[in-house]
């Protein structure tokens, strides 16, 4: 009885991990984020911090494998469920909360995952094992150790379906290639990288992610609410002005170059300033580069700076990228001095 009441208390505030394929309907993603915000359910940082795994839309085979790997890393009590369409968001979340309290009374909308208790779980947040070996190239021309790691596709505020195959030296990205799971690179020019959300909602969507990564939660919540409601242009320009005047914010995003011209701005600071300054105006929507160009711009950045840069560039993963051959380590012969 006591356990049950504790469970129901916890189920009022479960941590939710959302997994979306690149091809997810943006309206569905926004509807889920809005509903989670309305319920004040926190977004989980990692599988270890998760109570409810929400799979949006229909994942392809590669992402399906990722979902299984992530699910194996979620500690019990846990619930895995899918949100196929916008109309069922509320009922799915209600059922998930109920299932957290009473794991045996599963509703039809929940998946029936294998509940075997895996003592050993896959490490990291990517689909591949991590492996260290000697770097081929280092910034300072030294043959140092490097770590090959797949970043994504399940990370907070991360582009849907994107995996970055990165080589790390310390916390510095020395090589990075993009792959969008289940969406190979499209032939031809593709779309112009325009978001179906319209200029202002695209800007607010990007800003929500950047502020979320920066831990500026009150700004992120404000940006998300403006995105999900139908704000007056005056509110938008006022918010944009407030952001441009926010000195700590400007200072926190300073000093990150966007090399290689994926977007028209040359620095992260400029990109954020333009996103904020364009709010409520009649400017063209922000450019959203392909995943390849955006990920190419991450080489040479520290991991945290790279995350901010990627969120601010907001690559259009529906255009696809990859596939990238997984890193195969050579015979590990290692000596250290």
């Amino acid at each position: 009885m006591v356990l049950r009441s504790v469970g129901s208390l916890v189920a009022r505030r479960p941590h939710v991990l959302t997994i979306a394929p690149a091809t997810v309907d943006p309206a569905l993603r926004l509807a889920v984020e809005a509903e989670l915000g309305r319920r004040r359910w926190p977004v989980a940082d990692s599988p270890a911090d998760t109570d409810v795994v929400l799979v949006l839309g229909t994942p392809g085979p590669r992402l399906g494998g990722v979902v299984r790997a992530v699910w194996a890393g979620v500690p019990a009590p846990r619930v895995l469920t899918t949100v196929p369409t916008t109309g069922v968001v509320r009922s799915v979340l209600d059922d998930a909360a109920a299932a957290l309290v009473d794991p045996h009374g599963r509703k039809a909308s929940l998946l029936s995952p294998d509940d075997s208790n895996d003592a050993l779980l896959p490490g990291g947040t990517g689909p591949e094992a991590q492996m260290a070996d000697l770097a081929f190239y280092d910034r300072d021309g030294l043959a140092l150790d490097a770590l090959h790691v797949a970043l994504g596709p399940v990370l907070p505020h991360w582009p849907a379906g994107l995996v970055v195959h990165a080589t790390l030296a310390g916390d510095l990205i020395t090589d990075a290639r993009a792959e969008v799971l289940d969406v190979p690179a499209s032939v031809g020019p593709g779309s112009r990288g325009r978001s179906p959300l319209g200029p202002d909602r695209t800007r607010l969507d990007i800003l929500t992610r950047v502020f979320g990564l920066l831990g500026a939660d009150h700004l992120a919540v404000r940006a998300r609410r403006l995105r999900d409601q139908d704000p007056a242009p005056g509110d938008l320009t006022a918010f944009g002005r407030r952001l441009r005047r926010n000195r700590p914010l400007r200072w926190a995003v300073r000093g990150v170059p966007l090399v290689g011209g994926p977007v028209e701005e040359r620095t992260l600071e400029q990109r954020v300033a333009n996103l904020a300054g364009g709010l409520g105006g009649s400017l063209a929507p922000p450019v959203r580069p392909t995943a390849e160009k955006a990920v190419g711009a991450l080489v040479g950045l520290e991991l945290g700076a790279a995350r901010l840069a990627l969120a601010a560039m907001d690559p259009d993963t529906t255009l696809g990228a990859g596939p990238v051959a997984a890193h195969t380590p050579e015979e590990v012969t290692h000596q250290h001095h």
Binding site: A132, A146, L168, A169
Partner: protein, 161 residues
Amino acid sequence: MIALVSALGAVAVITGLLVFTVDSMARATFLLLASFVAVAVVLIAFGLGYLGTVVILMMTTEMMIMVVFMVMLMMNPAGLMPMTMVHNRRGSWAIALVVFGLLTAGVWLVPFPTSGPAPGPDPTAALGDALMGGQMLTMMTLGLALLATIVGTVAVAVSRR
């Protein structure tokens, strides 16, 4: 008191030996730190509170700075690649035995003062006076010059970008 100090001494020696038997740099760092902390607690037990506390502070910081280089030079999370902490076994043995012999001989040969003056009420101040009493101005100037050099170097390195 003697039991406590002997136990801590044993901990310091054993963790110090274990440093060379583990196969991960993180464990070696931890054991080395444990060895230092045991010595520091011995100092505190002897009534040298300042010295013991500073040993904990300095040694932990030192280990952490070692970790900076450890991660910078070898991006190798736990357990992926076991490695040996021992190199040049024969030379190490020779050096270790010679140093041990010298120190042991020193223990017996050096005439230790049997009964000095009674310790003052504030050993921390006495220690400071003994270390820097005559050279206080030199030490202060040196310290400030060193600090200014560090800050200046960082400032130059930062503005080079």
